[in-house]
């Protein structure tokens, strides 16, 4: 049990006492790239919100790196080493891309208690350089006074990823990282995520609609159906699973 990065046991969660997730259990091993799939309304988003701490579960346990985080708010889970992106990229639209990453780096320093007192108002030079490196690594320009709101859709997603990476999370939660992208951008995004996860040795949990992305990126797949995990298996195993074919691939076709 302790060898897994994330352990979810008997999780119930929902809104206004209507449970959406029913008795969900899941174990994610280090370095795994775990994809949650399921038809619309299966509870992917709810599960995601419960994992990240946006929604507190009504029952069950979530253990991250051996530490019980069930009752922790989102920001405390981030401090513990979890990172999260959103379906629609959330960035600070009025700030420049560099400021966005600088805020993330500063937040990281404050969380670690390494921030110290500082009279100068500008971010530390070391943080600024680090932000520039992260931005460059993700193919974003660090220069310019243009606010982040002027970025293209794909660049906003990459900026959000940059902010997340600034905190050096050991577990990445990506909510539909390719949502709203053209198919050419999609594969580029997948390669980027794949590279980053490998370079950093992080563990990845993501939800995804696009089956190409799911099978390209995933090393393990869990299928959610009516708030329950129907199966957790390798991509090949999921492909071969008759029940999954019936509820998922059989009905809605390729893009359920």
């Amino acid at each position: 049990m302790t060898s897994s990065v994330l352990d979810v046991q008997g999780l119930f969660a929902g809104y206004d006492r209507t449970p959406i997730l029913k008795d969900v259990s899941l174990s994610v091993a280090p370095g795994e790239r775990h994809v949650l799939i399921g038809p619309n309304g299966a509870g992917k988003t709810t599960f995601f919100r419960a994992l990240s701490g946006e929604l507190l579960p009504s029952a069950g346990r979530i253990v991250f790196e051996g530490k019980d985080v069930t009752k922790l708010d989102g920001f405390r889970r981030v401090r513990a080493g979890m990172g999260r992106s959103f379906q629609v990229a959330r960035i600070f639209a009025d700030m420049t891309p560099l400021e966005n990453v600088a805020v993330a780096l500063e937040a990281g320093e404050v969380s670690n208690g390494r921030a110290g007192w500082r009279l100068a108002t500008a971010p530390k030079d070391s943080l600024r350089r680090e932000a520039e490196i992260i931005l460059a690594d993700l193919g974003l320009a660090a220069a310019g006074d243009e606010p982040a709101s002027a970025l293209s859709h794909g660049d906003k997603k990459r900026l959000e990823l940059a902010m997340m990476l600034a905190l050096k999370p050991r577990l990445l939660l990506l909510d539909e990282p390719t949502a709203g992208m053209a198919s050419s951008d999609r594969m580029a995004a997948v390669r980027l995520v794949e590279r980053i996860v490998k370079e950093r040795g992080a563990t990845l949990i993501l939800t995804e609609h696009d089956m190409d992305v799911v099978f390209q990126l995933g090393t393990r797949i869990s299928v959610l159906h009516y708030g329950e995990i129907v199966t957790t298996d390798t991509p090949e195993g999921v492909r071969a699973n008759a029940f999954v074919r019936e509820i998922y691939l059989g009905r809605g076709g390729h893009h359920a």
């Binding site: 990240s52 946006e54 708010d73 989102g74 920001f75 981030v78 401090r79 990172g83 999260r84 959103f86 959330r90 960035i91 600070f92 639209a93 009025d94 700030m95 400021e99 600088a102 805020v103 993330a104 500063e106 937040a107 990281g108 404050v110 969380s111 921030a115 500082r118 009279l119 100068a120 108002t121 500008a122 971010p123 606010p147 709101s149 002027a150 902010m163 997340m164 905190l167």
Partner: protein, 338 residues
């Protein structure tokens, strides 16, 4: 780039302070007194705008903080004259911060714009009732006979000494507020305002940041309020009335919420309008209300927003995302209903 930013701020602050300090050579006693009141009001406006435009919190209860500072200082000056005045100001600041913290602790359970505003208003009225009904605070009559204090060998009752002191302290408070707004702390306040959810998932403790913003604003407003008693020689429950809470809002919106100096411009322009129409007794509500309504409906960027826009037009540059659009941002950003 940001070093020049700081330099520019300091140059403006020094010019403004010098102008205020030279005023007694050019104006009569009445105008100098008014300038002292305006200086205090500028700080109240800037303290409000730290909450509004930087942290994204609409406080309708700022009078609580300025009044708590005013009463703390007045009580100490009257009952414990042995306490040095600079210590009195520090105690007043601490009182304001503590009350802001207590109110924020409850009110920040509902941070969505309107709810928070009304909760701060309700608590401000609670404080108003307590001040106006407690004999310790002099009930409705307030506390009178507040003398201008000494600071070591300096007697602030002499000539314009107290006015000079007020200008120097307010300049210091303005510098503190500028620093907070532009520092790492201010950046995290802005992050919380722009998208509380994103901020939380960067590990920022959103509620704590909001409480800090509230306490800093409260401390600055209370220090400015503490200067009021010795200036006017009286503090009364009117200082805690909700009408007082709306003045900083008016200054900020009139001058331009998206600019650091907006509340300063607003406070000066409003005082000029009020001074110019002082003979129209009873019409002050009508003027204040009409002005505020006109600003919100016609120039939501305030006077500085309008000026910036005008300068941009003259320079005929391609329209950059204007700073004038900023004031609409506080809660219009995604985070509002989260």
């Amino acid at each position: 780039m940001s070093r020049s930013h700081a330099t520019r701020f300091l140059v403006i602050l020094v010019i403004l302070t010098a102008a205020a300090l030279l005023l007694p050579f050019a104006a009569n006693r009445g105008l100098v007194f008014l300038a002292g009141v305006i200086a205090i009001n500028v700080v109240l406006g800037l303290a409000f705008n730290l909450l509004f435009s930087t942290a994204g919190l609409l406080s309708f209860g700022q009078a609580t903080f300025s009044a708590s500072g005013a009463y703390a200082a007045a009580l100490l000056l009257l009952r414990a004259p042995e306490v040095p005045f600079l210590a009195v100001l520090v105690i007043a600041a601490a009182t304001g911060a503590a009350i802001a913290f207590a109110i924020g602790f409850v009110a920040l359970r509902r941070t969505e714009g309107v709810y928070f505003a009304v909760l701060t208003l309700a608590f401000a009225e609670l404080v108003h009732v307590i001040i106006a009904k407690t004999s310790f605070f002099g009930r409705n009559d307030g506390l009178t006979g507040i003398q201008r204090p000494r600071i070591g060998p300096l007697d602030l009752a002499q000539g314009n000494a107290y006015y000079v002191f007020v200008i120097l302290v307010t300049a210091l408070l303005i510098a503190v507020l500028w620093w907070v707004t532009h520092s790492r702390l201010g950046r995290s306040f802005r992050a919380v305002r722009l998208d509380p959810m994103r901020a939380a998932f960067l590990g920022i403790d959103v509620r704590r940041r909001q409480l800090e913003a509230f306490a800093i604003s409260g401390a600055c407003a209370a220090t400015a309020g503490a200067l009021m008693g010795p200036l006017t020689s009286i503090v009364s429950p009117d200082l805690a009335h909700w009408g007082e809470s709306t003045k900083p809002i008016l200054f900020t919106l009139l001058g331009g919420a998206g600019h650091f100096w907006g509340p300063l411009v607003g406070a000066i322009v409003f005082s000029a309008v009020e001074y110019g129409t002082r003979s129209l007794a009873g019409a002050s509500d009508l003027i204040t209300g009409g002005l505020l309504l006109a600003v919100v409906l016609a120039i939501p960027g305030g006077l500085l927003g309008l000026a910036t826009l005008g300068v941009r037009r003259l320079q005929a540059r391609p329209a950059a995302p204007s700073e004038a659009a900023l004031p609409l941002a506080p809660a219009a950003s995604k985070g509002e209903t989260l």
